[in-house]
């Protein structure tokens, strides 16, 4: 690991995309993407289905050719270098294990292609199988393995080649929840142990937050924000990023007042709410206020005057065991969602029953105000704002 997160040294980038675009006939799958993945880091591409994650990976792997832009691996421009000559390996979502080969033959395939002598490559493959806890499975066929075992064979088959970068396309997608959680830990452990750069594609925000050193959040072929999990969660630079990670309360309204980094927004039928300004906010314009449910407080008595507050009636209380979800009806059209953790301190807090009138409030610093384009429908404007210049199909 030559450069940890936070090291700004450019030449050490394992992968760099400069203004990379990819078009499939009418569809713009990637729109001038800039990315820099540092050596040795666990880097995730996170975004909804169809946002261009796999396309990015396929470009790096050499399975697709960029329409424009430059791709560098280990500082070297890849140009038209075919897949089999690139210093990267891939763990495919379907694993793509060779059915006619045994587990060990699968794992040693890459070394065999490189011309490593049989005894040597067999030893390396066996070692790698040991690393992924598949000792004794050498002579099985892929079809004789469970999903989790196949996944690990795919991992071993790629890692045994010591690629400059390992590409993983939703590798845990086919596993059940429990195994997925287990494999998340396993993958993180393995990545630290081998020190190979991972580029990990997922649409699961929890997975990305749990495993990554850094995350790139993508939407509709654009990279909206790159940052550590903490930055992405706590400091979303874009409303889409905030909405995609977690399930924030969203209020849309008119900007009434702006002062000291904060803004006050008038929301129809609900009242005035406040939050911290992100971007260009001017009184009179439209804005979107977002606040995460764990930052929303509920109280029977009015909160301090400085807080942003509205009132409503508790519509539903859902106790999920360790956490309780409160749905508070603020207007005919809008509920507020608040989380309360049922931990040891939880008993000290006041509990509410369905039908009860409550004050819903938060500290100004806990909510974020994003400018919204008044012309279009709010939700469409949120998604296209960061990608203004791209051409949209249709």
């Amino acid at each position: 690991m030559s450069a940890g997160p936070g090291d700004a040294a450019r030449p050490s980038a394992a992968i760099e995309l400069r203004g990379v675009s990819k078009r499939f006939e009418q569809v713009v799958a990637l729109d001038r993407v800039d990315l820099s993945v540092r050596k040795g880091e666990f880097f995730s591409l996170l975004g909804p289905s169809g946002c261009g994650k796999s396309t990015t990976l396929n470009l790096i792997g050499g399975f697709e050719t960029a329409t424009s832009g430059t791709l560098l691996i280990d500082g070297k421009p890849m140009g038209d270098t075919p897949a089999h000559l690139r210093p990267v390996n891939t763990v495919f979502q379907s694993y793509a294990l060779f059915p006619h080969m045994s587990v060990i033959e699968n794992v040693e395939f890459g070394l065999r292609m490189k011309g490593v002598p049989a005894p040597e490559r067999r030893r390396a493959a066996a070692e790698m199988l040991h690393l992924v806890s598949l000792d004794g499975m050498e002579d099985r066929r892929p079809r004789q393995l469970s999903g989790g075992q196949r996944q690990r064979v795919a991992l071993a088959r790629a890692l045994v080649n010591h690629p400059a970068v390992l590409l993983l396309d939703e590798p845990l997608g086919a596993l059940d929840l429990k195994l997925r959680k287990h494999m998340q830990t396993e993958l993180s452990r393995l990545q630290r142990k081998v020190g190979i750069t991972f580029v990990y594609v997922t649409h699961d925000q929890e997975e990305a937050l749990a495993m990554s050193d850094r995350i790139a959040v993508m939407d509709r072929g654009c990279v909206l924000q790159v940052g550590t999990p903490t930055e992405i969660y706590a400091e979303p630079a874009d409303p889409f990023v905030m909405e995609f990670i977690g399930s924030p309360n969203v209020f849309r309204g008119r900007i009434e007042a702006v002062a000291g980094g904060g803004a006050e927004i008038a929301v129809d039928e609900i009242g005035r709410v406040r939050g911290r300004m992100i971007g260009d906010i001017r009184p009179g314009g439209q804005a979107t206020v977002m606040v995460r449910p764990e930052r929303v407080r509920l109280s029977a008595t009015p909160p301090p005057a400085s807080a942003s507050q509205v009132t409503g009636r508790v519509a539903k209380v859902a106790n999920l065991g360790f956490i309780t979800h409160y749905f508070v009806r603020l207007s005919e059209r809008q509920d507020a969602l608040a989380y309360r953790l049922n931990d040891v301190d939880g008993g000290a807090e006041i509990r509410f029953d369905e039908g009860q009138q409550v004050h819903v409030w938060w500290d100004e610093g806990d909510a974020r105000v994003f400018p919204a384009d008044a012309g279009r429908s709010a939700s469409a404007s949120i998604r296209t704002r960061a990608c203004e210049t791209r051409e949209r199909p249709g």
């Binding site: 792997g61 050499g62 399975f63 075919p82 897949a83 089999h84 000559l85 990267v88 390996n89 891939t90 495919f92 379907s94 793509a96 294990l97 060779f98 059915p99 006619h100 395939f109 890459g110 292609m113 490189k114 066929r141 079809r143 088959r157 790629a158 080649n161």
Partner: protein, 274 residues
């Protein structure tokens, strides 16, 4: 399991019973153009007595192998092309391949005669261009002509069978191979070919088995040096040498069954591999 019962009945009626009758006849005596139930080994002795019959059988098998290999070598690239590089034309091309099944084989054999014959299009054309004086000797009434026409007859079977396995092929495996450093040729050799081997083997069987019994094409376009076993058996039968005919038939059937048995394991394994 029991659903296969009707199939088993048909198999017994159409295959096992005639074969059993043939088997019994081959050990009976032919007297006055009649087969009589007197046990004898004379028919088999007659087969091995001279080089004639084994020679013809070996030549038949040899030609069948050559034609099978040629068919596979031509069918594989063709099927590969249809699967990988055609979209809208795929059905049309396949239909064209299948269509040839529906035309009478005899008709198509005569069509070849019109092409290859001494007064055929090729010879006439070459003569008109002044390239030759006399008809090319090997073009017709030669082993070359038999191999050419029989390869043409066998090709559709081979294409369909190989197409079926290429069509089922998981192409992401080829992607995985190139990801692991395999050039396109090596990816084909190590992944595509092994994955489609069941199709290749069934193509070989579908081509080889009927070839052993090839009949009218060698009679039409062949020569004395391309005599095959089937017409020989027919001759025996027509000459009322039922015992010898039966022995010859049984030996041919035995060879075919050995070939089937050899490929059976592979076909079965191939199916389990998926």
């Amino acid at each position: 399991m029991w659903g296969l019962l009707p199939l088993a009945v048909v198999q017994v009626a159409l295959f096992v019973v005639p074969l059993a009758i043939m088997f019994v006849y081959s050990f009976w005596t032919t007297r006055n153009y009649q087969i009589v139930p007197e046990w004898t080994l004379a028919n088999y002795r007659a087969f091995f007595e001279s080089w004639t019959y084994p020679g013809v059988l070996l030549r038949t098998l040899g030609m069948s192998v050559v034609i099978t290999v040629l068919s596979l070598l031509m069918a594989y690239p063709l099927a590969y092309f249809i699967v990988r590089y055609t979209r809208r034309w795929q059905t049309v091309l396949l239909a064209a391949v299948i269509l040839s099944f529906w035309t009478s084989g005899l008709l198509r054999a005569y069509a070849w005669m019109a092409l290859l014959g001494h007064g055929g299009i090729i010879n006439k054309g070459l003569r008109a261009m002044g390239l030759i004086e006399d008809p090319l000797p090997f073009l017709v009434y030669s082993p070359f002509a038999v191999v050419l026409v029989m390869t043409y007859f066998s090709l559709p079977f081979a294409v369909i069978s190989i197409y079926a396995s290429l069509e089922k092929m998981d192409w992401s495996l080829v992607g995985a191979a190139s990801d692991l450093g395999a050039s396109p040729w090596r990816a084909f050799w190590h992944v595509t070919l092994p994955q489609t081997m069941p199709g290749v083997v069934s193509a070989a069987v579908l081509t080889f088995v009927p070839l052993v019994g090839m009949f009218f094409v060698p009679l039409l376009v062949g020569s004395a040096s391309s005599v095959v076993i089937a017409p020989l058996i027919a001759n025996q039968m027509q000459a009322f040498q039922l015992g010898l005919g039966a022995a010859l038939s049984f030996i041919v059937a035995l060879v075919v069954m050995i070939a089937l048995a050899a490929s059976w394991r592979y076909l079965d394994l191939g199916r389990m591999e998926r």
